[in-house]
């Protein structure tokens, strides 16, 4: 589009001046690279040109006294007097002034200057400084109000993105909507970050409402690259990144295992004491055994160019990622072809094709990483003959499971997008496009005989195919009219329809003919119970429109409306309306602000209000359904109602969001500030209301309830130093969010999982359990006064209990009350839990909210420093407050299973004898009451992390020119380098799969610390 406009401009060169001549030159970027696509204009005339791939331009008929104006998006415009020179070479400096940048706002573009909503843009440069593997990497810490949880560690993992907090109870319902080159999509997993030209994050309702029903959690608009005019350009990039486990956790060694055995079984000889049995006399460091140095190699090739009537961009990326757990790997190829053709001045059409192929092996965390900690370290990993040991003592061999349990997914995905743009008149344009999306993952699991727990051993596995296909059609008109120069009107109206269809089947079997063939035809036995097929269809139709008015960009008004229909809702509630209004006032343009103009170059106040929707529920939740295939009896396949009760009245969830924002640009645009305050309220909350099981159903999806999020976002971008050789640009953003559940069905609270309370006045991620107060020192310490305050027993010099109690130093003479747990009289070594109900039992009634999983605030701090040919970028990432339930540790330390060994601290500090002062309960097996969900495992999730560092050296273009290379750079890159946290397990940053069960660490695949090298070459 931009190129096209520029092309049109350059065609209008008009010889006007008398003393004229041609002028040529080269424009360089701040990093000394050739700068293509820069507009060069002769001041005071409409004549101009654009630089080509080498950053060169040539202009005819330039007056000797002319002034050339160089401008490019994201850079300070530069004016240069020609002074009769024939060659003008310049270097542009980057600018924070992005106000004239054009950003995508959904079904059209707008100048950043005229935006009325809270939109954050991220350009290609900011993305490339990360060396991102996926969109999560590219976006982390880049924007206020966008919490990105990076699961970087496992090859092929994706992580999560939350815009402005949790607005609903379902996980899918909290994901943002992605719009990739105009195509609406629920995920952006296939996008290659190197293909991205720009990302716009629409955070407030008014901006996002144009996407109606799926916009409640914000919209991420991704625009991919296209070719620019000039000779074809060829980019090659290669990087190799090494990763290792960021830190190891201390595990009980073989001696500690034996000590624990003795403690748990004091009279007996202990288990595993046979000193000649090779099975029990190893001392393994499992973490060493199952981890390796991760290696990630990435090759990116791209080619692009443009001629008068066409432009193209094509790229291919190959990513080979070997994870830190042995045998975890992912190989990915992504390719893209973007083309655009102009049929005439008025009609343009184009295609965008994307194809991605990934093959990866997932490691079963439960059978490897968790076994690493659970399996006694004295068990052998290899048999004396060197082969791998299998299942032993109810524990899996983590190495054998990593190597011999296969879970390979091959995904094939692609989409083809075709669009046409027609200018119907000077003011009116018409766009229409059609997209087809295809995804066909194929999954194979195989578990070798070697890791089989059966006796005799047998192999087992499954094979599954999915075929998901969808199409999307859009058509819309854009109207733009400027009346009397100052009155700028825009309008847009359109229609879209889409349909997604999916089919899948899974076949399970056992006793494979060979361990070399994993396909279903190798099954010795087909398992009907593990063989299923599924299918779904989802369709939507929408009508949408937008109007806007701007008076000198000083007073700006906008409104949108979308009318959406979805097949997921009850017959009477198919359609929903999603309106928004917004306004902005550029008060810096007012006369009375004249005094401030020296410091304040631009200031805009924004106010917006809008309603967004959410329809991400099951495809058929509005229907009562009968299911079959898993309910056989005596040779007949039973048909039974699903466990979810279908709700025929099911309707749209709507999120109302009021936003007030202030954008400031200070000190000649050296400092820009964007700040927003919002109140976002979800109504008609779609959630699975638990039904009493006595109805025969588990739950019903209903529209009732409300969640409110309030937040404050602040982002500042400072060009701190701007000299010829040295530049320092720093960006800081911080976000405060508070969510409250306002209303639930009948006000009924419910418990999600076993440790999260969902209640009115609470928040998502409220942990529910007991306050852990310590351990009874003596049997007699279990003594309370009438008010349930603990008494202190007194002992004589022989450490014999005197029968007397004191409280607060005073002798206690009243009745002594005792505490019971599970019907047992609690004694020395048992846990003291808080007893808010003041009765003689610790039971469910004593549970309280003991913490919340969500951070109090999160922040990002990005720095870019350029010194001559060197550029250093680094990012700090902060999450503060919030708690994690360390379930990985809790599962180790509950003593119930002999062959799960607790952490060393627990073994050494467990209460052993009367009088021991400790915080760890006695090691008896059957003491479930000492292992309730409590503050014992609730840990502070706060962390500060140096998450990305990249140091780049750009070769001098002059030097490169001799070897016919346009540009080249070398860089070193590091990620997850330093983390400051008190969290005791691997890493406090991870995404939670269930929005109602936030912040539980079950022993996740650990994050890597990475260091790598890379090279970029442009030809």
């Amino acid at each position: 589009m931009l190129v096209l406009l520029l092309l049109l401009c350059s065609g209008n060169i008009n010889p006007v001046f008398a003393q004229t001549g041609p002028v040529t030159g080269q424009v360089l970027t701040p990093d000394q690279q050739p700068f293509p696509g820069v507009t060069v204009r002769i001041k005071g005339s409409s004549a101009g040109a654009t630089t080509n791939q080498e950053g060169r331009f040539s202009l005819l008929n330039v007056a000797t006294d002319a002034v050339l104006v160089f401008s490019a998006i994201g850079h300070l415009p530069l004016e240069k007097n020609v002074n009769g020179a024939k060659t003008v070479n310049v270097q542009l400096q980057s600018s924070n002034k992005q106000l004239d940048e054009v950003v995508s706002v959904g079904y059209g573009n707008a100048r950043k200057r005229d935006l009325t909503g809270a939109i954050t843009s991220i350009n290609q440069e900011a993305i490339e400084k990360r060396q991102p593997v996926n969109l999560i990497d590219a976006l982390q810490s880049q924007a206020a109000g966008v919490l990105v949880m990076n699961d970087a560690g496992e090859p092929g993992a994706e992580g999560s993105i939350r815009i402005r907090g949790f607005s609903t109870f379902s996980t899918a319902g909290n994901n943002p909507l992605y719009v990739i080159d105009g195509v609406l999509s629920e995920s952006a997993g296939n996008i290659n970050p190197s293909d991205i030209q720009s990302i716009e994050i629409l955070k407030d309702a008014a901006s996002a409402a144009i996407y109606g029903s799926r916009s409640a959690n914000g919209v991420i608009i991704i625009t991919t690259k296209r070719g620019v005019e000039g000779k074809p350009t060829f980019d090659a990039r290669y990087s190799s990144v090494l990763g290792k486990l960021a830190h190891k956790l201390r595990q009980s060694n073989a001696d500690e295992v034996r000590l624990f055995r003795k403690l748990q079984n004091p009279g007996g000889t202990g288990v595993d004491v046979d000193s000649l049995n090779p099975g029990f006399n190893a001392d393994n460091d499992y973490q060493d055994i199952i981890t390796q140095t991760a290696v990630r190699q990435q090759v990116d090739l791209s080619m692009s160019g443009a001629a008068k009537n066409a432009n193209y961009y094509s790229s291919i990326q190959y990513l080979d990622d070997k994870g830190i757990v042995v045998n975890s790997w992912a190989k990915t190829i992504k390719s893209r072809v973007n083309t655009e053709f102009s049929l005439s001045d008025k009609v343009k059409f184009g295609n965008r094709f994307q194809f991605a192929y990934q093959k990866k092996n997932n490691i079963n965390e439960g059978n490897t990483l968790n076994q690493t900690f659970q399996r006694p370290t004295n068990y052998y990993v290899w048999l004396p003959d060197g082969t791998l040991a299998g299942y032993l003592g109810g524990r899996r061999n983590p190495l054998a499971n990593a190597l011999y349990e296969t879970n390979i997914t091959q995904s094939y995905g692609g989409n083809a997008f075709t669009f046409m743009e027609a200018k119907l008149s000077k003011d009116l344009s018409f766009n229409t496009n059609f997209n087809v999306d295809l995804a066909a993952p194929h999954n194979i699991t195989f578990s070798s005989k070697l890791v089989s727990a059966a006796n005799p051993t047998s192999s087992s596995g499954s094979e599954g195919f999915d075929l998901n296909i969808g199409w999307q059609y859009q058509a819309y008109f854009n109207y733009h009219k400027v009346i009397r120069k100052d009155h700028d009107f825009t309008a847009m109206a359109g229609f879209s329809a889409e349909k997604y269809k999916g089919n899948s089947f899974d076949i399970g079997g056992t006793d494979y003919v060979s361990e070399l063939v994993y396909y279903a035809n190798a099954y010795g036995q087909l398992l009907n119970s593990k063989t299923t097929t599924k299918g779904f269809v989802h369709s939507m139709a929408s009508f949408f429109g937008r109007i806007g008015y701007s008076y000198k960009s000083r007073y700006i008004l906008g409104a949108t409306l979308r009318h959406d229909g979805s097949s997921r809702f009850g017959k009477s509630n198919i359609w929903g309306d999603f309106p928004s209004v917004s306004g902005a006032w550029r008060f810096s343009d007012e006369k009375f602000m004249g005094f401030a103009r020296r410091y304040l170059s631009d200031a805009k106040l924004r106010v917006s209000y809008g309603i967004n929707g959410n329809e991400r529920i099951g495809d058929y939740d509005a229907m009562q359904r009968l299911t079959f295939g898993n309910n056989f009896y005596n040779g007949i396949s039973g048909a039974v109602p699903t466990s979810d009760f279908g709700n025929k009245d099911l309707s749209w969830e709507s999120t109302r969001d009021a936003d007030i924002g202030l954008d400031l640009s200070l000190f000649h645009d050296h400092v820009t500030v964007a700040t927003d305050y919002y109140v976002k309220t979800t109504k008609n909350l779609l959630y699975a209301r638990p039904l009493p099981v006595e109805t025969g159903y588990n739950n019903a999806r209903i529209n009732l309830g409300s969640i409110q999020n309030k937040g404050f976002e602040f982002a500042v971008n400072v060009l701190a130093v701007k000299k010829r050789d040295f530049q320092w640009n720093t960006i800081f953003n911080i976000t405060f969010e508070r969510g409250t559940i306002k209303q639930l069905y009948n006000g009924e609270q419910f418990i999600a999982g076993d440790k999260w309370l969902v209640r009115e006045g609470g928040n998502l991620g409220d942990f529910y359990g007991f306050h852990y107060k310590g351990i009874y020192q003596y049997d007699q310490s279990n003594a309370y006064n009438d008010n349930w305050e603990q008494l202190t027993p007194t002992f004589d010099e022989n450490k014999k209990f005197t029968g007397e109690y004191t409280i607060g130093g005073q002798k206690y003479l009243g009745t002594v009350h005792r505490m019971y747990g599970n019907g047992n009289l609690l004694k020395g070594g048992d846990v003291i839990y808080d007893n808010p109900t003041k009765d003689s039992v610790i039971d469910d009634a004593d549970r309280r909210v003991i913490g919340n999983a969500q951070p109090k605030f999160y922040a990002g701090w990005i720095n870019n420093l350029t010194y001559k040919n060197f550029t250093l970028s680094f990012t700090f990432n902060v999450q503060w407050g919030g708690a994690i339930y360390n379930n990985a540790a809790a599962a180790l330390n509950n003593y119930t299973t002999s062959n799960i060994i607790p952490q060393p601290y627990v073994i050494y500090h467990a209460w052993r004898n009367q009088g021991d002062v400790t915080d760890v309960p006695r090691v008896d097996k059957s003491t479930a009451w000492n292992h309730r969900i409590s503050t014992r495992y609730l840990e502070d999730a706060s962390f500060i992390r140096l998450s990305y560092v990249k140091l780049m050296y750009a070769f001098n273009p002059k030097m490169l020119h001799r070897v016919k290379v346009k540009g080249a750079g070398l860089y070193i890159y590091g990620s997850n380098l330093i983390t400051w946290t008190n969290y005791s397990w691997y890493d406090p940053e991870f995404s939670s799969a269930n929005a109602l069960q936030l912040g539980q660490d079950n022993g996740r695949y650990p994050r890597r610390r990475e260091l790598g090298l890379g090279v970029n070459i442009n030809l």
């Binding site: 008149s425 056992t510 979805s566 109805t695 599970n822 019907g823």
Partner: protein
């Protein structure tokens, strides 16, 4: 320009009208109720779903409910000790009554919908309805025996606008007003078809009624229904030599009254195999010494080596439900838990004979009771008891219960036998104190019931926990 706008409007209007149809999507691999309940086949498939609910209810609970709390089993290091220490909690496996209510819900649906299905003969319709009624009665009988009072649902839940919450109905009125009348009605509705032991028929209905009356100590009525069962002339005792057939091929035995069909290929492995013996899991339960030593020492009892694996010194394998299959060392080979077929026996004729003995003894007819007891005792290869062996009524009752314990080891009977005869405290307290010196034992009658699962309590505010359980 006007033309353009006009055509846009026209297209939009056209689109809009077509949209509602475009947005009407039906499930792909499921049915909606209005598509179902149309033909007799639909009833047959619906009924299979009802039976499937019983399978799911007993999959593992067969052991938890019937034997885990009794002197049949201790708990191994791999299981939850609380079963052996009378320390049930609101989250323990077995405390969730949901699978029984799911079954009730399916039965209620069938009872409501089947009469509306056209072209079904009255005889067939009665067969389907009666089976659903009996299964529902069995569910309530089980609920009442385990939890006491229970919420009563006799209609399917079909409208979200109606409250889904129901408080508990007293156990007595559930038995009197629902279970007994439904079973009696069904007995009359059922035909003489008894071609399969896997489905409910007149025999299993009568057996269940006898069981219900025995539970209520209504011996006259119990005997009446045992007589009706005997009068069918369908059942005889399996000879001692082929006793094992009852468990490995119940359909081939004339003693079987009702067993649950199981096929791991479609149902998955039978769940109890993971608790009592399979080759890929350590058993949760160990055979308790009282049973173990009898079977080990009294080799004349043919049931011993066909019930528990005496070659497993750890006492952790019950081989009752597996056909004999020995490896080269003469040890039983167990299937994988995911590949076990266990045809859970529900009622068999021996049960009726020993219940009759219990009833006769209760009514004071010791000789008749002894004769019945000896019928079973001698079949097991042992010498008949003499009257002198049981000097008192109590002693004879204990003798009958002991016979039942050995005969029905791990058959979902022992806990109910102890409960029915008020023997839980007498039998279990010494054992509990032996296992754990300071175990309080059954010091509260409330402990005779199961705790209500925490999830069930959470989902229904009208439910109260069974005291003294608190969590």
């Amino acid at each position: 320009m006007k033309k353009v706008f006009f055509s846009i409007g026209a297209v939009a209007a056209l689109l809009f009208s077509g949209c509602n149809k475009f947005l009407d999507e039906k499930p792909q691999n499921q049915l909606t109720p209005d598509q179902f309940w149309q033909t007799e086949d639909d009833i047959i498939h619906g009924l299979a779903g009802v039976y499937d609910g019983v399978q799911a209810s007993l999959n593992t609970n067969y052991v938890y409910w019937g034997d885990a709390r009794t002197d049949n089993f201790n708990v191994s290091q791999y299981g939850n000790k609380q079963y052996a220490l009378n320390g049930l909690s609101a989250t323990i496996s077995g405390s969730d009554w949901a699978p029984l209510y799911v079954t009730i819900g399916r039965a209620n649906m069938l009872l409501k919908k089947a009469p509306g299905v056209k072209n079904v003969t009255a005889v067939n319709e009665a067969q389907y309805m009666a089976q659903a009624l009996v299964i529902r009665a069995w569910c309530y009988f089980t609920l009442v025996r385990l939890w006491g009072d229970a919420p009563l649902w006799l209609e399917p839940y079909e409208d979200l606008h109606k409250s889904p919450y129901k408080a508990r109905t007293s156990a007595d009125s559930i038995l009197t007003a629902v279970v007994i009348p439904d079973l009696q009605k069904s007995f009359d509705m059922l035909s003489a078809d008894h071609s399969t032991v896997f489905n409910i028929n007149k025999g299993s209905t009568a057996a269940m009624l006898a069981d219900v009356y025995m539970w209520r100590h209504d011996y006259d009525n119990a005997l009446k229904w045992m007589d009706k069962l005997t009068a069918l002339k369908w059942y005889t005792l399996e000879p001692g030599g082929t006793w094992k057939n009852l468990f490995v091929s119940p359909s081939g035995s004339l003693e079987s009254i009702w067993s649950l069909s199981w096929d791991y290929l479609v149902d998955g492995g039978a769940g109890i195999s993971g608790l009592i013996g399979c080759n890929d899991n350590n058993s949760d339960f160990l055979v308790e010494d009282t049973v173990w030593s009898h079977f080990l020492l009294d080799t004349t009892d043919i049931r011993g080596k066909q019930t528990v694996d005496l070659k497993q010194a750890a006492k952790d394998k019950v081989l009752k439900y597996y056909a004999l299959k020995l490896d080269k060392d003469g040890k039983q080979v167990y299937p994988k838990s995911s590949e076990t077929n266990i045809q859970y026996p529900m009622y068999r004729y021996t049960d009726i004979i020993l219940l009759r003995a219990e009833a006769m003894n209760a009514k004071g007819d010791a000789p008749a009771a002894l004769t019945l007891l000896n019928q079973i005792h001698t079949r097991a290869g042992m010498k008949a008891f003499a009257a002198a062996n049981f000097p008192t009524k109590e002693a004879l009752l204990n003798g009958i219960l002991r016979e039942r314990q050995l005969e029905f080891f791990c058959e979902f009977k022992r806990w109910f036998d102890l409960r029915r005869n008020g023997k839980v405290k007498e039998v279990m307290d010494p054992l509990l104190k032996f296992r754990q010196v300071d175990n309080p034992g059954y010091n509260n009658d409330g402990l005779l019931l199961w705790p209500v699962n925490r999830d069930n309590l959470n989902a229904n505010p009208l439910l109260k926990q069974n005291p003294p359980y608190s969590e």
